[in-house]
């Protein structure tokens, strides 16, 4: 797990790099646990004003199958959730 986390941290740093300068401050972290639990508790801990998640897929069928993570987050979050669709 530790090795994997390290490589994920590196990937996260890479993913966050383009955001530097665009927004005031970027923090990234890799957490180990249940995805929705972790997202929601991180949002609460950091008093996030907004949770942003991607919706999976653009096709008609995929559109009906909203990612299970996005859906759970949307259902359980106590704060605004932005579901981002890939641009058509």
């Amino acid at each position: 797990v530790k090795e994997h986390t390290v490589s994920l941290e590196r990937a996260m740093a890479k993913a966050a790099a383009p955001l530097e300068g665009v927004v005031k401050k970027v923090e990234h972290q890799v957490l180990v646990g249940h995805v929705v639990d972790m997202l929601l508790s991180t949002a609460v801990k950091n008093d996030a004003s907004l949770v942003v998640v991607g919706a999976r897929g653009v096709g008609t069928l995929q559109r009906l199958l909203l990612g299970s993570v996005s859906e759970s987050v949307l259902r359980h979050a106590d704060r605004p959730v932005l579901i981002v669709r890939p641009s058509a």
Binding site: V36, D47, D78
Partner: protein, 190 residues
Amino acid sequence: MTTLNIREVLFATDFSDVAREAGRTAAELARHFGARLHVLHVVGPGRDPEPAPESLARAVEALGPGLRTVAVTASGSASREIAAYAAAHSVDLVVVGTHGRTGVSRVLLGSVAEAVVRRAGCHVLTVPPGGLKPAAPSSAPSSAPPEPERCVVCAQVSDELICAHCRARIRGESLERKRAEERGGHSLAG
């Protein structure tokens, strides 16, 4: 990297308090992006969507000044009409209110907001009571008094951020438990 280009914002309202909260957020975003704000109210299927009710005009007025708004009504299934309108008018972002963390939420959210998320081809922002601000308990109706530590999902008193029950539910374990209970029930009845 693509930029978020928001020109048309759609705010769907049923004139509830929750919708009003979402409307405030929608208006703020529309102002921020200089976008046009469509305010849509959907009436039940078979009902005449014209003339637009007075409450729609009031809802638009409540959004405040400095906005380009379009008020519209439609009739039919709320989520279907919202998604259809969004597609027809190249809406970039749909804003809908959700009922937050109260027990009823899942039923109501399940009916409209979630269906909108499924149907709409654009970005969707769901706004629970409290709006796009660091949690403001004053605007959340009585359901979540701040005193004891509460589960962020069900608002029941709990030491953990997400109580064990909700965590189990989120993970889908409740389904298994329900099945087990049903089996138990049958054997008791039988």
